[in-house]
Amino acid sequence: MSRDHDEPDPSEGPGFHGEEEVAEPVSARQNLIAAIVIGAIAILAMVLAVRLEVPGRLVAAPGLLPFLVGFSLLLMAVALGALAVRDGGAKNLFGGLSGAGEWLRDEERRRTLLLFAIIVAYVVVVDQVPFEWRWRVGTFDLRFSGYELFSIASLTVILRIFWRRPLVPHCFGVAFVVVMALAAVFRYGFRTLLPGLG
């Protein structure tokens, strides 16, 4: 059986490029911004680690590993920053600050912000407005809590915006069926509590 062990031409097909196989390309400027933020986090971690009390011996200090991690993270941030500067990331670094309006002009970004705002509102409302209604049907205790109500409401809104169905009842129907089924599985199937006093 003859086997050809030649190295194949890289252009023949793909190789492995990591978890971020299908990730969007990252610019040198983005890398430099990331390096600055990470550097700041690393310095903060080091300062906080040094300020921690040492109840026992210094070698077993609670801040020892946090400090070492902060320090090595700072070195990594410096390395990332240096690579970004080498690749031209420092050019027009602050140009983006004046272009916040430009940034928001991208439809996908606007949609992401909108989605995030709805999710935050949903999470906060479920937490802040807890309630539960109960109905006794024979021996069965039917319950409807803040989780179901706000999940159905927010899901209807999200579906209406992103699914692009013209009719709200369509979106409401899907949201109602999915949330009620999910709540039933957890509450009656696995007997776990739901958020929002459920």
Partner: protein, 500 residues
């Protein structure tokens, strides 16, 4: 004694209820994996919440069913609609979809199903073969070795998950370590990074972080995009002839070994296994077969699918013996086990006698059910793909909330999940992989506690003593340094070679 334990666990596993639970998990896993953009890890992370209400063995059976099903599930959408359900299905997509366009989609899927079945067997057999040896070795690990192992796990995960710039993987891991330090330290109960907020004193659970990073991040990333796709009308024959499988037996065995070994390396998931195996198989293929590569090769499908499924057994090796998850999906298994107070690691057999045998049996059952369900689900899956992502993704949001909350019935975890989702979104936008962060959040407390214990033990002793007395630790130091060296200089050399 061993046979008694095996028999006892088999009696527990082969009950109609357990089989039904496994069938449910496998089916959910296949359907989930088949959905474009919904990864195995996402499925596992979200379903931890569902397993919270189950008993120990039921939860294990369910989670292993989901794991086995979802790793294969990615192949369905990859072949049928040219969108990989999971990242490890990309090679299957590149080879399977051209076959589907030629009307051989059913056969391509059938080959993927049979290969996945075979790959699972290789993984399970190697898991059973190597666990005793690894457990014996793991018992020799003391604090110093455990610390180094945790650091190596995070470092190698960073290297493996970030492609050409390992630095970003390491940064992701190191940020995860900082998150892991939040809360009262386990030795002196000193509050660290809590900023006076009492709720942070309990620390930050890694389960909401896992759900946020792999669930919410994906929703924020994918939902605002616009990418409609078409659905093929015909599937064709599904079950492949035995001659096709026999023809690629050698490729199967090699890919199975690659998949298992890669699975045993922390952080190197099924995607690494399938790409590496695909690459090796292409180099080793006969010239006439290699010409089909990229245009629809059955051998390529076999190489990728055997490897990513063998990865399951491989990933369970470090998870069960060292308590270090082989990949992010195995981290979810670890989380489910910890929620049931199962102590994984070198003493797993002492603390939970017979549990390992139950896990073997559960994997075998899940594999058989995966094979049957995969064949049965191919046609319904085509119908399911008529659901657009814009409908599918929003439905995951309440699952994320309930999953994060169900872990400890604490709403603070939902906020943690929300924050992790945003951080994950930003990290993805800036090209940082997420798996090292999750692994570091899990391993951070282990690394911290063991380093401090080791330094107390080493106080007053010479470096020579530490290096010779703790020879496993010395080997691990070399391995850690080599990982960083290879990440920095190996990649640079590779890049330079490519440029030439």
């Amino acid at each position: 004694m061993i046979w008694e334990q095996i028999l006892e666990q088999a009696f527990q596993a082969f009950t109609p209820y357990m089989l039904l639970i496994c069938l449910l998990g496998t089916t959910l896993g296949i359907l989930w994996g088949a959905m474009p953009g919904l990864s195995t890890t996402m499925a596992m992370a979200l379903l931890i919440g569902l397993s919270a209400g189950m008993g120990q063995n039921v939860a294990i059976m369910f989670m292993l069913g989901v794991y086995t099903g979802s790793v294969f599930g990615g192949a369905i959408s990859a072949v049928l609609i040219n969108i990989p359900g999971t990242p490890d299905a990309v090679p299957t997509m590149m080879e399977g979809h051209p076959l589907a366009k030629r009307g051989e989609g059913g056969l391509a899927l059938g080959t993927a199903i049979a290969s996945s079945f075979l790959g699972n067997w290789v993984g399970i057999i190697l898991l059973i073969a190597f666990i005793p040896a690894l457990l014996a070795l793991a018992l020799k690990f003391r604090s110093w070795e455990m610390f180094l192992l945790a650091i190596w796990g995070i470092a190698i995960c960073g290297t493996m998950s970030s492609g050409e710039r390992p630095l970003k993987g390491w940064i992701s891991g190191w940020i995860g370590l900082l998150v892991a330090f939040v809360g009262l330290d386990r030795i002196d109960a000193v509050p660290r990074f809590t900023f006076g907020v009492w709720i942070l004193e309990d620390g930050i659970s890694y389960i909401p972080i896992l759900i946020g990073l792999f669930g919410l991040t994906e929703i924020l990333r994918v939902l605002p995009q616009k990418s409609p796709y078409a659905i093929p009308a015909e599937v064709g024959r599904v079950v492949p002839p035995m001659s096709t499988l026999w023809k690629y037996a050698r490729t199967s065995i090699r890919s199975g070994l690659i998949g298992t070994v890669i699975g045993a390396i922390p952080g190197a998931g099924a995607n690494v296994a399938s790409f590496l195996s695909y690459d090796v198989a292409r180099r080793r293929a006969r010239p006439e077969e290699r010409r089909k590569w990229g245009k629809g090769s059955y051998e390529a499908i076999v190489s990728a699918e055997v490897a990513n499924n063998a990865n399951i057994g491989g990933s369970m090796l470090p998870t069960l013996t060292l308590g270090i998850p082989g990949n992010a999906a195995a981290a979810a298994i670890l989380a489910a086990l910890e929620m049931k107070n199962v102590v994984v690691g070198p003493t797993i057999q002492t603390h939970n006698p017979g549990l390992i045998y139950f896990i073997y049996i559960a994997l075998i059952i899940a594999n058989f059910l995966m094979y049957g369900m995969a064949i049965a689900l191919v046609r319904p899956c085509v119908k399911l793909f008529s659901l657009p992502r814009t409908l599918l993704m929003p439905l995951i949001i309440p699952i994320c909330v309930i999953g994060a909350f169900a872990v400890s019935l604490n709403y603070f975890d939902v906020y943690v999940m929300l924050a992790a989702g945003v951080v994950g979104y930003v990290m993805r936008k800036y090209g940082f992989p997420l798996a090292p962060m999750v692994l570091a959040v899990i391993l951070g407390p282990l690394a911290d506690e063991n380093l401090r214990r080791a330094l107390i033990v080493f106080e007053g002793k010479s470096v020579g003593y530490v290096l010779t007395e703790h020879w496993i630790g010395t080997i691990l130091i070399v391995v850690v340094l080599y990982t960083f060296y290879d990440g920095i200089f190996g990649r640079t050399r590779g890049k330079a070679k490519k440029t030439k």
